[in-house]
Symmetry: C2
Subunit: 246 residues, 2 copies
């Protein structure tokens, strides 16, 4: 008869803290007891307490401020930002975001020539390694309070035989007006994924520990059901929700 494994001490501490956070014993925004006092309370040493807290930090339940203490985060309430997703084709021919946000590039994005990696090539229905124009930038809105990483990809093959064969096309959304002038009628599809950020992404988006990103791929479908361009968004996963009308 297999004996029950004892729960590790650090997990008991983590469970205690998580339960307290979820039931309001440790209210959001308030500090947790110090590592030292938790160590004493549970009869363990500090490294053991830190292992427990590391779990909660990785789950976005606790935020640590250097020299100040450990504070309860609240991934509970409704996100304060709701972004309706969509592309509007204005009467003047321009394309704008359905959420009405006006983004500005932190630095001017430059066109680079890249080879389509497999996951992008798949969605663009081109062979992996086919050359593309790629723009990448960190964008901000609402006086820097909103941030997103933005990329535009256009396969060279889409631009063959157009004036953009010699001349770099603009990034989205201006790209869409350009493609429309070339005769395309555009249709858009978005693919939503999530993942934890790499360190540079976390820094660029100002993400606290334990907060995942939303990763949105927007494919522009042109004539003949042909994918002609792609936008890529990396969005902070806390305090933000995307809205789609079905």
């Amino acid at each position: 008869m297999p004996a029950k494994k004892t729960t590790p001490k650090y997990r008991q501490i983590a469970d205690h803290l998580r339960e307290g956070i979820l039931n309001g014993t440790y209210p959001a925004g308030q500090p947790l007891p110090s590592e030292e006092s938790l160590a004493e309370q549970f009869g363990v040493t500090r490294p053991t307490v830190r292992q427990a807290v590391a779990e909660l930090r990785a789950n976005g339940l606790v935020e640590v401020l250097m020299g100040r203490g450990m504070f309860v985060r609240s991934p509970h309430g409704r996100p304060s930002i709701t972004r309706p997703r969509g592309v509007r084709h204005e009467l003047d021919g321009r394309f704008t975001e359905a959420d009405g946000l006006r983004w500005t590039d932190a630095e001017e994005p430059v066109a680079t020539r890249t080879d389509a990696p497999l996951p992008l090539a798949d969605l663009l229905r081109i062979p992996p390694g086919e050359p593309m124009y790629t723009y990448q930038s960190l964008q901000t809105a609402d006086r820097g309070r909103l941030r997103q990483l933005h990329a535009t990809h256009v396969p060279f093959s889409v631009l063959l035989g157009t004036k953009y064969e010699d001349q770099a096309p603009p990034p989205a959304p201006h790209l869409y007006a350009a493609l429309t002038e070339l005769g395309h009628v555009l249709d858009f599809t978005e693919y939503v994924r999530t993942r934890m950020p790499l360190p540079d992404q976390a820094q660029a988006l100002r993400l606290p520990e334990g907060v995942p990103m939303l990763h949105v791929l927007r494919i522009a479908i042109g004539n003949d059901e042909r994918p002609v361009a792609m936008e890529e968004f990396h969005l902070p996963g806390d305090d933000l929700e995307l809205m789609y009308r079905l």
Copy 2:
């Protein structure tokens, strides 16, 4: 003149490993060097190596198999499951998912009476604390390979004066047929969020460490723009993407 702070050893190790994972030195699916050998290689003790690896685990880059070793995960390629989001109103009056998946409840869900928490009440446009019918279940599809946590919420106020005043309404999607019979013409909006799972959610969805969840709220809008019901989905964030046509 502020001197440059030295990077902690554990972070140097984490950076080395992450870089190796991203550039292919440590290929996906392959084991990393053992903790012992990394400790020797970097001239540190095991706990220091473990701190480095803990970071990569929390970011979903490394998966550890007890007694076997540490293995490289690949959060890189395209997810193998794409779920087109939408609700179809069939000719026979039933409602089905646009992705065509057929979900089965792990256990029969029961109707419980709950008080609307603030974030749900907000979306349903009812006062917080107003009573609702709530169904919750763990659902599986594709012979248990796909999993999702599903919940249906219906405010009592929506059912006042109908036959469901005495009798519990069915959960979605049957709920939608029932609401249609009551005279509602339904429209759907989805809100997509992401967050790290709680331990019970991670277990139910079989989520590896460092993998976030997608959290989808689907609001059914009835007559007079009135929200009449809500579905809630918790989906595994790895190897899955949602698809929306704009």
